[in-house]
Symmetry: C2
């Protein structure tokens, strides 16, 4: 999690976040994953900011279906539509789960501070009964408040490390569409960190 230079798609994405900052749901994105049987899955998740290395942060419950799906297919694509500025970002990348047993100290610390940043109501949801199972009794949804300092064991930080970003601006005349592709580091590269922040930028037809 070293501090890499900003990827070139970070600047238009930051601009979109700024232009849409009055809409709380401009930070809601849709994450596509693949089920164990090969069919796609798709759900709304909340963007929680970036790690220093261009990875997008989200949170999830270890008991959720997407966590199980990631064990079969670690790739995800986030689709992010900004209503005010009328633009879309599609971010394809590898997903990484940061769980209670995370060995990397920086990632473990990021998980803990994310837990501390949550509202009481958001933390409480991780003490609710198993998501997706038959509805539990109402009393199961009023657990005692979890410790605000130390995450519950099922609380996970979910990271997306994009390798391809597709930016479509509907407002252009015609529309503008730009593709960002991360160049794959060769096996002989001695400095994979340096290689990994090499991006090509291409204007494509909308």
């Amino acid at each position: 999690m070293s501090a890499l230079p900003l990827a070139p798609w970070r600047s238009p994405l930051a601009r979109a976040l700024h232009l849409n900052r009055s809409l709380v749901y401009a930070r809601y994105v849709q994450l596509a994953t693949v089920r164990a049987d090969g069919r796609p899955a798709n759900r709304t998740i909340v963007f929680r900011g970036f790690l220093p290395d261009n990875q997008l942060k989200f949170i999830t419950d270890a008991r959720s279906e997407k966590v199980e799906q990631m064990t079969h297919q670690a790739w995800g694509e986030v689709c992010w539509y900004f209503p005010k500025s009328r633009e879309q970002f599609r971010l394809l990348g590898r997903l990484q789960l940061v769980q209670a047993d995370e060995p990397d100290p920086a990632l473990a610390a990021a998980r803990q501070s994310q837990w501390q940043d949550l509202s009481d109501a958001a933390r409480l949801q991780f003490a609710w009964p198993d998501p997706g199972q038959s509805r539990a009794a109402a009393s199961a949804f009023t657990p005692s408040a979890p410790d605000p300092l130390h995450p519950l064991s099922n609380f996970c930080l979910l990271l997306l490390c994009p390798v391809q970003v597709d930016h479509l601006e509907l407002r252009g005349d015609p529309q503008n569409r730009t593709r960002y592709d991360q160049q794959i580091a060769t096996a002989t590269s001695k400095d994979s960190a340096a290689a990994s922040h090499h991006w090509t930028v291409t204007a494509v037809n909308p």
Copy 2:
């Protein structure tokens, strides 16, 4: 495309559409598909209404990546977030493409009337150069207006036939989540149309 009884998830979805009718982008949804290499893809598309048999209508260009992806994996999941009423529908189902050579007369007619319902600007996009290819000259984006009556050959109607719908209402206390599952018709069923509109409804944990 016979007129089946409304599936039980149609009523809450119609209510959400009504509550969010002031937002043009409440008709924008995200469609997840699977790429030929097994990785997911995700993009925003516009909901165009229902066929009489509970199938959702969208439109697409035969040259788009999702059409190629459907030849490998015909399943898709639509994620539909409604900002005003703060609820989400996830609709998993089979995708079907209605192209220029569609043999079913009712579907061919639905494709043609969808084309006629488009704005001039929307029709024009189907005469633009190949989407996703390196940006063509500006002049390529000012073709002559296509015939408003007869669709261009690359214009497709895209149908989603849901078999599972997951409805999450964030406003509940706690949140409410309902799952609708279509019962699979048995091989011995003599009346597959009757069997296919059998749904179970289950309250699940959010």
